[in-house]
């Protein structure tokens, strides 16, 4: 490591990404995840139910009981895992980059410097829209593996972040700053409807 210090920069004095306090996602966002899991579970149950209803001889009674136990076991487990991994998801925006951490078994921390972001997108799913949530996606030139999506942000926050990042990408377009509050108000109005 000593070879780095031959420049004037002291590597140990550089800002440390691992010591930054990361913010958790909006707790409301777990409802979105929960609804998604419910839908998935319902589909799986519907498929099995449909098969065993219409084709009675496919499963023997024994297998049916096993499937029943599995379902009873897997559904709570899926919620538990989702909750745990939700608790792991956290993000922060520093002056020069965005940091996002997730993963239960394998914890991944992704860092994207703003001066490498190509464009920003704001997504709102159906349920997220009802809850006033949005997600921010940062696109880089590094291909899909290096794009970063941060879900579960308040819409207003997401708007601010989006404008902040787009300003960092294109410092010349300062017009967006004036238009941003209107956007937020508009979006909020939409929510009230």
């Amino acid at each position: 490591m000593t070879k780095f210090t031959n420049e004037a920069i002291e590597i140990n004095e550089l800002p440390k990404f691992e010591e930054v306090q990361l913010k958790p996602l909006q707790s409301k966002y777990f409802r979105v995840i929960a609804v998604n899991i419910c839908i998935l579970n319902l589909i799986i149950i519907a498929i099995f139910g449909g098969i065993s209803y219409f084709k009675e001889d496919v499963f023997s009674n024994q297998i049916r009981i096993i499937i029943g136990f599995l379902v009873a076991f897997i559904i709570p487990l899926s919620f538990l895992l989702a909750r745990l991994s939700f608790n792991k998801k956290s993000y922060t925006f520093r002056t020069h980059d965005a940091i996002y951490r997730d993963g239960l078994i394998s914890e991944t921390t992704t860092i994207i410097p703003f001066n490498r972001v190509q464009h920003v997108a704001l997504h709102q799913g159906f349920i997220a829209r009802k809850l006033g949530l949005a997600s921010i996606e940062l696109f880089t030139a590094g291909g899909s593996s290096s794009d970063l999506e941060i879900p579960g942000l308040l819409l207003a926050d997401a708007q601010i972040i989006k404008n902040l990042v787009s300003q960092k990408i294109n410092p010349s377009t300062e017009i967006t700053e004036t238009s941003s509050p209107e956007n937020i108000i508009l979006a909020e109005n939409e929510n009230k409807d």
């Binding site: 070879k3 440390k16 914890e107 921390t109 994207i112 410097p113 030139a141 593996s145």
Partner: protein
């Protein structure tokens, strides 16, 4: 000359382009209707010959007319006012493609077999951004293509014509890869690729043969009988020998056809590559666009002093990365490779501080790639009596031996070098790759750690660039974090353009 190089007026392609378009359309039609053609061919006797030949003649005439019309309506020019390159085409549906000159990243002049026969070239324009508009001119004389290419790339040349002249004059450095180098490369690389090709080729042929009715020639019995004449080991040896010889021949032929007459022209700002035996390819390398470079060499190649350089450029489209933006320079010597690297990076990459993986990487690889397969085979053996214990013992010894050697060398060669200006990752068991990336070209960094690695302080890092990723796994996590902080600092403070 002056009037010819003026691109401000819409102009047509070379008249010979009709031939190229005719051939292309014919090829497309044949491809689309080959089942019908096949049926005709089979039932040739029973068909009305006048109808068949008449039909074919009509189709050919129609295609010829369409080709001529396509040629007639295809024009291209440079709009000086808006600084756009404009292509207009289409017979019934008129299409106008306008490309802003400053968005043009790369202009390639290529030649397919047909184009080579009529001595015209294809000019392809590669643009930045994700718009998938493909702009290409199918038939253009080489002279015109070169001038147009210069104009498109140096669009600022109008303002500073002197600098452009200078640039063309400085085009002195020329590098040719000799046939001997290509033969060397053909014998020493891409074994697996050629083997896979051969495998696919033979399985398709066998499949097709099997579907033929009354096939006496290649029945299983025949082959078995044939091989029964020899002893088992002799026939195994013979089989392996034939496969090796075939792989080598395929390798050699492929390498020579693809890279024949590989020429590198180095001017002050760019590198021009041209190669190919049947179809000539011309590619312009823009040093700014280069994101990642891999240098590959195996044991034989080190002895023969040849190096393969893979150049990964930033691609306009994430899905199409593979073909166009990855360029390989096969078989240059150490000296030539240094020259190319110096040009692309301004200086020779220095191997800086060395980082090694944790010994657990070796342990993990041994477990998953050596112990686990053997345990599985043991379980299989215990359940199904497929082979004898003796055979199992022989095979697993051979497997352990080779797998062990490969795992050991891939661990031994797994290194990361970090200096101020370069990140070099070395890996590989036989073909040793050195991937070189400049820190300011990093797009995103991801660090990753499994929960069981927390106590042992081990983790991985992945660097994404626009030309591919580099990852270094199972290393000291606190050192990785330090490096990440350093790279972030470099990326966020650099005012250099990554492209």
């Amino acid at each position: 000359m002056k009037t010819k190089t003026n691109f401000s007026q819409p102009q047509k392609q070379s008249l010979l382009g009709v031939v190229v378009m005719f051939a292309n359309t014919l090829q497309k039609s044949v491809r689309a209707f080959w089942p019908v053609l096949l049926i005709w061919l089979v039932k040739f006797e029973s068909l009305n010959k006048v109808m068949v030949f008449g039909g074919i003649a009509v189709v050919i005439v129609v295609i010829a007319i369409v080709s001529y019309l396509q040629y007639h309506f295809f024009t291209f020019h440079i709009d000086e006012e808006t600084n756009e390159f404009i292509i207009q085409k289409g017979v019934l549906n008129r299409t106008k493609i306008a490309i802003q000159l400053h968005k043009i990243q790369q202009v390639n002049i290529n030649q397919s077999l047909i184009q080579r026969l009529v001595d015209v070239h294809k000019l392809e324009i590669d643009t930045a951004g994700s718009d998938k508009k493909e702009a290409s001119i199918n038939a253009i004389s080489h002279e015109l293509a070169t001038i147009l290419k210069e104009r498109l790339i140096n669009h600022s040349a109008i303002e500073k014509p002197i600098s452009q002249e200078k640039a063309t004059k400085e085009l002195t450095s020329l590098l040719k890869i000799s046939l001997i180098s290509l033969i060397k490369i053909g014998f020493t690389s891409n074994y697996i690729k050629s083997f896979a090709l051969l495998f696919v080729f033979f399985t398709t042929i066998m499949e097709n043969l099997r579907q033929l009715p009354d096939n006496d020639v290649i029945s299983k019995d025949n082959i078995v009988n044939y091989f029964d004449k020899f002893s088992l080991y002799f026939s195994i040896g013979l089989g392996i020998g034939i496969v090796i010889a075939l792989v080598l021949i395929v390798n050699l032929v492929r390498t020579i056809i693809k890279y024949f007459d590989f020429t590198i022209q180095i001017s002050k700002q760019s590198v021009l590559l041209s190669y190919g035996l049947l179809a000539t390819k011309n590619t312009l390398l823009n040093p700014n666009k280069v994101q990642k470079i891999t240098i590959t060499q195996n044991f034989f190649q080190r002895k023969l002093n040849i190096i393969t350089i893979g150049v990964h450029q930033a691609s306009s489209d994430a899905e199409k990365v593979k073909e166009k933006d990855q360029i390989e320079v096969p078989g240059c010597t150490q000296l030539e490779s240094d020259g190319i690297l110096k040009l692309l990076f301004d200086k020779l990459p220095q191997k800086g501080a060395l980082f090694l993986p944790n010994w657990r990487k070796l342990a993990m690889n041994l477990f998953f790639l050596l112990v686990l397969p053997i345990v599985i085979s043991l379980l299989v053996k215990l359940n199904i009596d497929f082979f004898t214990w003796n055979e199992w013992f022989i095979y697993s010894t051979i497997f352990t031996f080779f797998s062990g050697i490969l795992i050991w060398f891939s661990y031994k060669n797994y290194k990361l070098f970090v200096s101020n200006d370069f990140i070099i990752k070395q890996n590989g068991a036989w073909d040793i790759d050195n991937a070189i990336v400049e820190p300011f070209k990093i797009q995103a960094i991801a660090t990753q750690q499994f929960f069981w690695q927390k106590t042992t302080n081990i983790g991985s890092v992945t660097l994404s660039t626009a030309g591919g990723t580099i990852s270094f796994s199972t290393a000291n996590y606190s050192e990785i974090k330090k490096l990440v902080n350093y790279w972030l600092y470099q990326v966020e403070t650099s005012d250099k353009n990554w492209m």
